[in-house]
Amino acid sequence: MRVPLQWLADYVDLDLPTHDLATRMTMLGLKVESIERIGAGWHDVIIGQVTELEPHPTSNKPLNVATVDLGNRTITVVTGAQNVQQGDRVPVVLVGGLLPHGPDGEPMTIAAKPMAGITSEGMLASARELGLSDEHSGIHVLPPDAPLGEGLGRVMGGDVLDIETNPNRPDTLSMIGIAREVAAMTQQQVRLPDLDAPGNDIEWMDEDSIEVRVEAPDLCSRYTALRIEGIEDRESPVWLASRLEAAGMRPISLLVDITNYVMLEYGQPMHAFDARALEGGSIVVRRARAGEVMRTLDGVERALSSDNLVIADDRRAVGIAGVMGGENSEIGPDTTTIVLESATFDGASVRRTAQALSLRTEASSRFEKGLPPEQAVHAARRYLQLLARVLGRTVRVARMADAFVAEPDERSVRMPVRDLQRLSGLPLDREYAADALSSLGFGVEIDDAAVIAHVPYWRRADIFLSADLVEEVVRMAGYDTVPTTLPRTALAPPAPVPSLYWSGVVRERLLANGVSEAVTGTLTSEEGMLRARLDKNGGEPPWDDLVPHAAGVRARDARVEPIRLLNPPTQERDVLRLTLVPQLLDVVARNLKHTEERLAFFEIAHTYFPRPDDLPYERRTLALALSGRRSPRTWLEPDPGPYTFYDVKGLIETLLVSLHITEYRVEPGRWTYLHPGRSAVLRIDGQDVGVFGEVHPRVATTFDIDGFPVQVAELDLDSLFAAASDHRTFSPLPRYPAANRDVAVVVNRDLAADAILATVKNAGDALVESATIFDVYTGHPLPEDKKSVAIEMHLRAADATLTQDEIAGAMERITDALTRDLGAALRE
């Protein structure tokens, strides 16, 4: 809500400097977003009248030479503007004068300069040059009553506060509403327009304005209509036009401008119909009929439904209630009789209609917050008063039609002093509260322990309960007077949350191992996720390998579809993600564009799986993406190699250690977008809890990643955390020495390392304390299909030092098993 202070001063004295006034209003709850000082940058800007206008005699540019009357003298001005006409009153900047907004956006001083031989003694200004608006297509032509020779700042200047209003306070969408607050804040009485002031040239006719039938009483609590005759439409006077402009509305013509003026003044939207357009002599307030169509004032054809309330004559809709009038009843230059509507429509209904039609208007934004029916009549009378005053002649008015369908109940709210004190923490008493409420316009009574407040009609939208009154009293006292204390609540100390605790463990482990934390976004597109697929048109979706089993997400073998938004921000972001990896690959690709150093990212976030008739399952998921060199190039290591499969596997293994998960399996996987030979699945208790591997080079190219392979992983953290444990049990340190033995075997190249180690451990009985592979070799002189594997074993017995015979026996059993079960050949 833009509040010109020069207008506000009609209703309340403003003795404070603007900045102080703004700060106090903010602290009262009327947040001043900005202060605009119209005319602060004007110097020597005078209102003049163009008395003669001729094309420039010599210039071949479209220049005009204007003779401008400044009241006490006449000057010659050369202008390029084409919208000026003889007789127009215009803002003239004299030579030496100042404008706030020159061509470069900076203030500009006007110099006398010859233009094609004729010296211009000033300049005509556009609205943008004056800093009034962005309009710069022509000169800002003023109303014909703009006072000749007067400084423009005296007529149009002044400070304007832009106030952020709250939806519970429709009254603050009006000058009078703001004035009431300022008056209460500064201990004044608000000055309302005197609607009974004598001297108005209004002639009341002894006849009814029009018949009004409210057929939807649930959606319209009051409808008043006035038929006003003997009038004409014209341009608004400068005082009215400049107030509207300062408040952010464009002047249109007098009959419309007064409705807007009164709307800004009282907060009551109104509408003027051309009486000629209303057929059948009555107004019907009804729901639109199925299939009914009406063209609104903005020229758009609107398809209506029975959810929409319309104003109609006997035959057709002439307006959408509380939103916008119809083109069919628009007033025009030849209008002499209008029917003025001032009504109270149901807020929710107006809101639904405005939303359905995507047509938010100044009117609808007020109605939807709930307006009091009392002000409908005040506003209509104010319209009449202003119209007669501006026209300067008698207007004839028929008796007001007033369909007051539902009179609101008076509301009184009791606020126990105990509520005031316990909610605010301030030791305020009944008397203080009563004074504060009274200054805000509440009728007040006091009993033993409470204040009873009678809610004024303009506060009916937001005062219902004791707590509402507490806020009123405390904001009058000032929130800055409330002390700062800490609750003395006795509660057990906070308990750690397992999921957050384990997330912390995982995060710390990854950060310590050089992986950076990424935050991408929940919203993506199905196509975006499907980029992580080997073939454009085929292959399983990338999320299909890690669908949660336990959570009732889908019936077996049914495909998971992502959750879709009904109103997505863009088509690229219309679903909730089922996998984190594609967006993490984008992070890698983006970073690869400006560096080729080590790229290692993780993200811990939710993936969203639909469940029938329930909120989706939000699974805590971890994704990893590694690419580029596995360490930065340094003088110590000039050419570090790329991240490999075993780096991502190593990270997963270290995570499993930190979670103390020892029972798991890693098996070859077939994740659809991974390298077919470098894809693995992590299983716990037979359930897939993670997939990882090297991204298929064709898929990497789709993501614009070239040059380095990318290793990725996606892990189901909910399942991992369920298996995690902080429990550790001490094992006594060994008392007897271990014997260390190495063995090297040549085996088939596709034999899994797991099988070799398992065979070693089995064959060695309990003596093999540990067995590790420390070398794998392929190539000359081994045959193509063979590899050499070297294993280091620690042999130890818990209760004695092993003898040479015992060690030799164990080694023999191990080598026998390797040769017998795995077809291994011993290497000497």
């Binding site: 009262l28 709850g29 947040k31 900005s34 939806p167 519970n168 306070r169 807020g347 929710a348 809101r351 939807e368 316990r422 605010s424 301030l426 309960l465 004791s466 707590a467 507490v470 806020e471 405390v474 929130y479 800055d480 409330v482 002390p483 700062t484 204390t485 800490l486 609750p487 509660l491 100390p493 906070p494 308990a495 949350v497 999921s499 957050l500 950060l511 950076s516 934390e517 935050v519 976004g521 929940t522 919203l523 938004l565 009904l566 109103n567 921000p569 983006r590 970073n591 400006h594 150093e597 790229l599 290692a600 993780f602 939710h606 969203y608 909120l615 939000e618 360490s631 340094t634 003088w635």
Partner: protein, 348 residues
């Protein structure tokens, strides 16, 4: 003459001793010294040959020669020992001198990941609340309209719904626009007193620019007990802001409106650039909004199953995105979603 033979032998011993001591002094390195040692103290050394004469002497003369030989041997061995230590020390010194490094060359680069500044702030703020005795809870991001709005005193078609443009999934299901629905879930799950914070992402259908995103973080707080007041709210949030931003930043509270709190308050922090005077970075206001808060609305307490006559409470929503921008002077919110290493590494 026996005496002559003895004297002769003693002179020889003395000569050998002198020769040996000279040779030891002349040895330039441990290797040369080792040769000297073998020559003068070994089995075939001169001294050993003198000892071999012992049998040719009468028994009464033997001790004289024996003592002389032993004394000379002892002196030579001591000198050898001394010279050896000196030479070893010199050699070590020379070797170390040759091992001198350029200490200005960079050290080995250890792996080190970067924490995301937004989540770092979240963890810091949660840490502060933990120190102040708050439990942490989580709530679903995909919520029922009923929890996100209706139970929070925002019925359908309420104009306050415009304060938060909503992403809908179905008519009744949406992406939560605030963490406030967790207030209801907490109250449904426990009786007062309550002191919890609920972190998580929230979503609003707003155009993205430097200071707005359609997905951002929020930390909801709820504190309910028999005597909780606006003063407690002010004290708590001021303490948190002071711990996060520093005690020299001024904080103010002013009346505001949220359907689920009454009275409602907005918390502002003094602009760090202009100290409240008004400048470009705070839009001339001197203050920057930190987040909404207020006393839990009686309808919301009732919706949670609590009796507003018996208990009162405060609730708040903290925006870590904003907190992080203000703390570090970050000017564009979109950097939080780019995961650019050049950005991330600045906060570690």
């Amino acid at each position: 003459m026996i005496e002559d033979r003895v004297d002769d032998a003693l002179r020889r011993v003395d000569h050998i001793r002198k020769q040996a001591l000279e040779a030891i002094d002349a040895a330039e390195d441990t290797r040369a010294l080792e040769a000297v040692r073998v020559h003068y103290t070994g089995k075939k050394s001169e001294l050993s040959k003198v000892m071999a004469l012992m049998g040719t002497l009468p028994p009464e003369a033997r001790p004289t020669l024996g003592n002389a030989v032993n004394a000379a041997k002892g002196q030579v061995e001591q000198s050898l020992q001394h010279r050896s230590e000196t030479l070893h020390a010199q050699e070590l010194e020379r070797r170390l001198e040759g091992e001198r490094l350029d200490v200005t060359l960079p050290g080995t680069v250890l792996p080190h990941g970067f924490e995301h500044p937004l989540l770092k702030s979240v963890r810091q703020i949660l840490g502060i609340f933990g120190q102040m005795g708050y439990d942490v809870r989580e709530g679903p991001e995909v919520e029922w309209d009923r929890y996100n709005f209706e139970l929070l005193n925002i019925p359908k078609d309420h104009p306050a719904r415009d304060m938060q443009d909503t992403f809908y999934i179905t008519r009744d299901m949406l992406l939560r626009t605030q963490t406030s629905p967790a207030q209801i879930r907490v109250m449904h799950s426990q009786s007062p007193p309550v002191r919890v914070v609920v972190p998580g992402f929230v979503y609003r259908n707003e155009a993205e620019d430097a200071s707005h995103g359609d997905q951002f973080y929020q930390i909801e707080g709820l504190c309910v007990d028999t005597e909780i007041s606006l003063a407690d709210l002010k004290g708590t949030l001021t303490e948190v802001a002071h711990r996060f931003f520093g005690r020299d930043r001024r904080i103010r509270f002013r009346p505001s409106y949220f359907p689920f709190t009454e009275p409602s308050a907005e918390m502002d922090i003094e602009c760090v650039v202009c100290k409240g005077a008004g400048c470009r970075s705070c839009g001339q206001e001197g203050w920057l909004e930190l987040g909404g808060s207020g006393m839990v609305h009686p309808h919301v307490l009732e919706a949670g199953g609590y009796d507003p006559e018996q208990v009162s409470g405060f609730a708040f929503g903290i925006g870590p995105d904003r907190y992080t921008m203000m703390k570090y002077g970050i000017t564009d919110l979109r950097l939080f979603r780019d995961d650019d290493l050049r950005f991330l590494r600045q906060f570690n």
